[in-house]
Symmetry: C2
Subunit: 494 residues, 2 copies
């Protein structure tokens, strides 16, 4: 039987761990901070990759691959960047082990001349390469994406949300003008928002980070922020306008149409396996994982109710016929005809693993032309006709995708509050939710609030994202008493 899952209202953090374990999405490994991703977890990531990759290509990007290792000297070239990443990086110093007295030791004679950093992000190695690839305006824009593993030596790790090694994509683009680079930065933020909402069924707020939360080396960091079930925010994707910082650090110039040398303008943008953590905390429940149908590896599991020492052929045949009909209409479906597990065990397993629709078919169904359909999000169970099963199931998958989004959107609306006093801010972020409050724009106020409440400014939101609230209206910062140009989004965050 499926493992026990702690109810959310009892211990949300434990619930999160339990769902991951029970749904076999990830586990800790003997390597501190590194996850093992069993098939359920890795394939979910692959499904996300597939959807994102198509969106990247549709916006004119191509994939490339750059080295895992970054020479130490590269990291040093951009001042803020090194400041941000040097403190938590894996350093390769030797290239050989040897046996000594029966022990395997690091060979002291095999020390590298220059230590290598396992990439925490690839701006430096990529801009070093771009400085050779880009000569003229004809080479621009250069719009590449990389699917890769990266390593940041995080001290306190949590599956998916913060791990030493994680999987991600990082886009790195080069442009002739500032305006074009900013347009790219915002376009990719829109791509991420569309992916979050249409595929993950997870509503997000789009905005800009304050200086203190910016990517090291960026001029501006745009982000999408989601609200988890427990009222904490989660940064789900970032898109950085890098200005000419990396072009200057790596001497990347181009000859413009007037034969003048100019520095190239840059962007970078990324999302990671962290999105799986966001997905879990947006939709899942006390019974386990709930997956939006568009991202589920298996959308429909068919369980034939067979009996030992009986003739089950008619039941199995009916199950296979349904599978064929569903497959033909593009549904990802499996028939679980394994004999070593009982039907009840299988049903429980698919529930905990978040398969959107389960179909159980027994001898009586075979006679009646019916099948028992259970929908994962609502747990609704109904007997439906097998005739036209592809249309029936297709409709359920679509309506489940929409319902998950709607329910997450409603929850966010319920937990988003216009706040006009420091006390109310404390209340809202303590209870969990987004607080839309005026900010005077100073780092001091931001830091003071963070120190006292642990809430941070998740973003300075783009206009028009909160129904009935004009975040662009000027006012007074209730904490400092200073004038404020707009409301920002405060919350505690993962």
């Amino acid at each position: 039987m499926a493992d026990t899952i702690t109810p959310r209202d009892q211990d949300y953090a434990q619930w999160y761990q339990d769902v991951i374990r029970a749904a076999k999405l990830a586990e800790t490994s003997p390597v501190r901070g590194s996850m093992v991703l069993p098939p359920n977890g890795y394939e979910l990531w692959q499904n996300m990759q597939g959807a994102l990759d198509a969106m990247f290509k549709a916006t004119g990007h191509r994939n490339a691959y750059f080295p895992l290792f970054i020479p130490k000297s590269f990291l040093a070239k951009e001042a803020e960047h090194v400041e941000g990443f040097a403190k938590e990086c894996a350093v390769v110093t030797h290239y050989r082990l040897k046996e000594e007295d029966g022990d395997l030791i690091v060979d002291p004679d095999a020390e590298l001349e220059e230590p290598l950093i396992v990439r925490p992000t690839s701006e430096t190695i990529i801009w070093d390469t771009y400085s050779r690839w880009i000569q003229s305006w004809r080479d621009l824009p250069l719009k590449l994406n990389q699917w890769a593993n990266v390593v940041r030596w995080e001290m306190r790790t949590r599956l998916f949300l913060r791990t030493a090694e994680f999987l991600w994509q990082e886009g790195h683009t080069a442009h002739a003008t500032e305006a074009e680079a900013i347009e790219e930065t915002r376009q990719m933020l829109d791509v991420y928002a569309t992916f979050a909402e249409e595929w993950m069924a997870m509503p997000v707020v789009k905005g800009v980070k304050t200086a203190s939360e910016r990517f090291p080396g960026a001029i501006d960091t745009y982000c999408i922020e989601a609200l988890m079930q427990d009222g904490k925010a989660l940064q789900a994707g970032t898109s950085h306008f890098l200005g000419q910082n990396f072009a200057k650090a790596f001497e990347c110039t181009f000859q413009n149409a007037d034969n003048e040398q100019e520095y190239v303008w840059a962007t970078s943008w990324g999302v990671s396996t962290r999105l799986i953590g966001a997905l879990i905390m947006t939709h899942s429940d006390d019974k386990g994982l709930v997956l939006p149908p568009k991202l589920a590896t298996t959308q429909v599991a068919i369980v034939p109710i067979t009996r030992k020492n009986a003739d089950n052929q008619a039941t199995l045949d009916a199950a296979y016929a349904m599978r064929d009909a569903l497959e033909a209409s593009g549904v990802r479906v499996t028939v679980d005809d394994r004999e070593q597990y009982r039907p009840g065990w299988k049903f429980a397993q698919y529930e905990v693993e978040g398969v959107p629709v389960r179909l159980a078919i027994g001898p009586r169904d075979v006679e009646n032309g019916t099948v028992e359909m259970t929908r994962r999000d609502t747990s609704e169970k109904e007997s439906v006709q097998r005739e036209g099963i592809a249309e029936t199931v297709g409709g359920v998958l679509e309506s489940m995708q929409a319902a998950l989004f709607e329910s997450a959107r409603q929850r966010r609306t319920d937990h988003t509050h216009v706040v006009d006093s420091y006390d109310r801010l404390k209340e809202v972020v303590e209870a969990g939710g987004f607080a839309l409050m005026h900010w005077d724009g100073s780092a001091e106020t931001e830091a003071e609030i963070k120190a006292e409440t642990k809430a941070t400014i998740r973003c300075i939101p783009f206009p028009g994202q909160f129904e009935g609230v004009d975040t662009e209206e000027a006012g007074i910062d209730p904490v400092s008493g200073e004038p404020s140009e707009r409301r920002v989004v405060y919350a505690k965050a993962y």
Copy 2:
């Protein structure tokens, strides 16, 4: 214009480098031994991934992901394995850099308790995990595949063929019986052979490695071997029967149906970006890359012959109409309507990049309902009707795929010789080719031949792969004079 390519008969190794550079498949990086893969190279790898991944799934495998880092102690657990990989591995010893006197240095206070190895292959970390996942016969077989980067600290590197970091897949399966594991090992070899022949259009010999060429830790290493244009062999994929070696090293046992504890039986198998090197040296020519249509990212490039300061709309419209027709029939096609490049430059570029079919359309073609089609492998140029272009092009792509395979097969036949004397062996391997010669089965004879001729036993071939030659017939090893049970394949190799 495209870079100059050294002719093959002048300097084959230089030709190889030139094709890679001109077709923008890969380049060296500032990190010793690590490649940069620009889009042309990486997307070719992705196309290979797509085909292989579908074949793995069709044979019951799922994808998973394991940590990049392997604790040093894990590597030590399997004696032959450590012997094989400890001498050439990247070792992470520290987890932080710090600034000191304006320099960025490895922080001596941030040394890891146990050094971590960047995976050269993942048997150890995976079997450590499997030992927790596998308890009972019900958990078997466990058939997983991982797409990943690995690092082997090679001293002499060559793009694609031998690099410090490379991309690959590694399958790792666990079975209840020896027979089932051997069957899996051979099945995956068949999958690789099918991929090589049907997708890469590259004929391969299937066989078993001798003990000296075995994977460190394997009982048997099966392989596919291809013959390059210059007569050197290239190992294109390996599938290992690992027996219970790793199960014993990592205490991975299962309870069988009779409630007894047994060690699990293992296989592993992999192919890598090395395949791109094989692809280049199988089909490409003095004009640049030649790609089999099934693996080409762009199968057809349409170049509208436009003129400056003229009305090109009709030409462009005809080009887009062809694109739409080709796309609708599933062809991967691009219209190159960039204005900053001349048509002649584009044509030369697509030739060097190995796009299978180029279509040039000018004003006269628009009037005549024609288009000029050029096929990459034969350089045949002909004027064809635009009506029915999808069928015409589809037929050419199919026939090109078949012709490339046939031509490579014919070349291999021409360079495969039955050899019955040491002198003839020397002649054959020196001129370049496969020599089918008797072998007495001793490591001494094998080593002696290798020392003198640099030729190695590429494999002990499966029966019936060489027309008119019964490699299973007994005879005499002409080098040692000892009896031999069969002929093996000798060649110099990459």
